[in-house]
């Protein structure tokens, strides 16, 4: 099993009163609330955490989100470039540049090819659909998002593979008269490709393409459904069964010396769910196309009718969770090393195995020192147990 450190570089230092009064902590909070000196410290701490992972054999995820306290990593290729130069050993997964809000996938391919060359082939590319407030901050039409997603992936893939001089692309969403990347990627024909989704149709397409399906914070049931769809689509297409390295599970992880420490410090990670997900309704429930029109009665009514369920995106159901609930739902693994290894293996067994565990190891008010302590324990005490239990 491969471990991947995931840190969104959150900015929790906005007074709670302001966050409580704001209708949204993403997209629209004024940037005067972000102190660039604190941000600088955070970027360097996060980079140091990644370098610690590099020393300890834990791979690194480089993420992107925009315009909110949930992440300062808006300019994701710049962070990826810094990691490319500063790390020496582990793989870096960019998961990833939000391709549905970037106007020019060719430029994204160019950035990835360059990063892969600097990394001497240690790059994995993960695609993310984006949505919600990022449709506003990214100036991207929420309708047609999925179509753009796949066309961008096709174009990026072709641009990375192409070695035969300029080619032309005249698609529905992207047109480019002359595509010819220099340098081409280090890995041939291109770096491994992933996508983060729990959406069943998207998982099916990932299955047909043989891409890695990472599922972020969907818990056991949501993950199970996505991977079943992945496997089913491959079987329907007559393709061989996927290896476990096609599946990545993602949850919060905190390892302490004791169970008490693991849970009490680890519970700070839930700031991500309980504070940083809040979005104004125009970016979320009322965003056109976010839910199928058939669900609209549940979305639009202020009071459900008798017997009517409430429509919600998976993320909507995560707000307001306690550490115990998060552990029980297996989106958080927290405790001493032995406990965490057991919790992870329980999820592993329930899901029929997975090749990658992406762990959110820092968020909210969890400090740099606390994050590094958990990373060390994870690498030294938990990872060997996982490798022994899974045979690799």
């Amino acid at each position: 099993m491969q471990l991947w450190f995931h840190n969104e570089n959150t900015y929790p230092f906005v007074p709670q009163k302001i966050l409580d009064e704001a209708d949204s902590v993403r997209g629209s909070l004024p940037s005067r609330l972000c102190d660039p000196k604190i941000a600088a410290d955070l970027f360097h701490e996060c980079m140091d955490e990644s370098l610690l992972c590099d020393d300890l054999g834990i791979n690194i995820v480089s993420i992107e989100h925009h315009a909110g306290i949930n992440s300062l990593y808006g300019a994701s290729p710049i962070v990826l470039g810094a990691l490319a130069r500063q790390t020496r050993n582990v793989r870096i997964l960019s998961q990833g540049t939000l391709i549905t809000i970037r106007k020019d996938p060719v430029r994204v391919a160019e950035e990835y090819a360059t990063a892969d060359v600097m990394l001497r082939g240690r790059l994995d590319i993960g695609f993310v659909k984006s949505g919600d407030s990022e449709m506003a901050s990214g100036n991207a039409n929420p309708i047609g998002n999925l179509e753009r997603f796949w066309e961008a992936i096709d174009l990026i893939t072709k641009a990375l593979r192409n070695q035969d001089g300029p080619f032309r692309w005249e698609g529905k969403h992207f047109a480019h008269r002359h595509i010819n990347l220099w340098p081409r990627p280090y890995q041939q024909p291109h770096p491994p490709m992933w996508a983060a989704t729990g959406d069943l149709d998207t998982s099916r397409e990932l299955g047909r393409r043989g891409m890695v399906n990472s599922v972020v914070l969907r818990g056991i049931d949501g993950t199970k459904r996505a991977w079943a769809a992945y496997r089913e689509a491959r079987a329907e297409a007559g393709l061989p069964e996927p290896a476990l390295d096609r599946f990545a599970y993602c949850g919060f992880v905190y390892v302490g010396d004791t169970d008490e420490e693991g849970v009490s410090v680890g519970s700070k990670l839930l700031w991500f769910l309980n504070t940083s997900l809040k979005q104004a309704s125009q970016y979320s429930k009322f965003l056109p196309g976010r839910m199928p029109a058939e669900m609209a009665p549940q979305v639009y009514r202020t009071k459900p009718r008798p017997g009517e369920a409430r429509a919600a995106r998976p993320a909507d159901g995560l707000i307001g969770m306690t550490a115990e609930q998060a552990i029980q739902r297996q989106i958080m693994f927290a405790g001493n090393p032995e406990t965490v290894a057991k919790q992870i293996m329980a999820a592993y067994e329930t899901l029929g195995g997975f090749g990658h565990l992406i762990f959110i190891g820092r968020s909210g008010f969890l400090t740099h020192e606390e994050a590094e302590k958990s990373i060390r324990l994870l690498a030294k005490e938990v990872l060997p147990r996982l490798r022994e239990a899974t045979g690799g």
């Binding site: 506003a136 047609g144 056109p288 029109a293 058939e294 609209a296 202020t302 009071k303």
Partner: protein
């Protein structure tokens, strides 16, 4: 009085409201589609043969694959005019439909005889840092609600009271509007240049408390159309067809009869 029918134009299957006799009045809906239960189409039908299609994606009109631009809609409206019998067509466009109507009239149509724009969108007049049209996808629903209605408590849709099918229809309308009008938001940068090509008598009507597009925007719109007449309706927001349907129908009726 008003019936819901189907109309196939250029192979595109459309829901269409019909009612009334006489010269044709083609009515293009605004941000949301009209239904047979809407009061305004039946009032308008006193003044002519009303044909009110729901644009693809809106109402019960399916959207063909890859039909997704304003240009598709403008071609379609021209095809609808071709399909409507009668020599003297009045084209009435509400809000978003006003944009389409202005585009069609600027391109001219040989049987188009009158144009009515009601709280229309479609052009940009202010500087690059000033939006003329309230962004209904980027502002809070409460703000959009206040801006859209003179008397929101009385006229704004009450989703708690609406049936499932009506709410789903509203959601489909909203998705379709977003698809077509997201960028540039609700306007065609080239359209002001061509509005002076409009050669038919034109009436521009505005709710005097419209907060989605202000009456001043309406006046600027009217100034770009040679010989057009500008009228406001008092005590009325972005939806005269809902807040003041009698007055709007009467204004259009006298314009058509005049």
């Amino acid at each position: 009085m008003i019936s819901t029918e189907r109309l196939i134009v250029h192979g595109i299957d459309l829901e269409v409201l019909r009612g009334g006799d006489g010269d044709p009045i083609v009515l293009l809906h605004g941000m949301c589609s009209l239904t047979a239960a809407s009061r305004f189409p039946s009032l308008l039908a006193a003044h002519g043969a009303v044909v009110a299609p729901s644009c693809p994606g809106f109402g019960a009109s399916p959207r063909p694959k890859d039909f997704d631009t304003i240009q598709d809609l403008v071609h379609l409206q021209r095809a609808i005019l071709d399909a409507v019998p009668g020599e003297r067509i009045t084209l009435v466009g509400l809000s978003f439909g006003g944009w389409l109507a202005a585009e069609v009239a600027a391109q001219r149509h040989n049987r188009l005889s009158r144009l009515v724009l009601v709280d229309a969108v479609g052009i940009k007049i202010s500087d690059r840092e000033t939006a003329d049209i309230l962004d209904v996808f980027n502002r809070s629903p409460a703000e959009v609600h206040r801006a859209a209605w003179h008397d929101p408590d009385r006229f704004a849709p009450d989703f708690d009271a609406m049936e499932d099918a009506e709410i789903m229809r509203h959601a489909r309308d909203w998705e379709a509007l977003c698809l077509y009008a997201w960028h540039p938001y609700m306007y065609n940068p080239q359209l002001p240049r061509w509005l002076s090509r409009i050669e038919v008598p034109t009436l521009v009507v505005w709710g005097d408390s419209d907060g989605i597009v202000s009456p001043d925007y309406g006046r600027a719109f009217a100034r770009l159309i040679p010989g057009s007449r500008f009228e406001t309706i008092a005590g009325c927001g972005h939806h005269p067809e809902i807040e003041r349907p009698e007055e709007l129908a009467a204004l259009i009726g006298s314009f058509v009869g005049g």
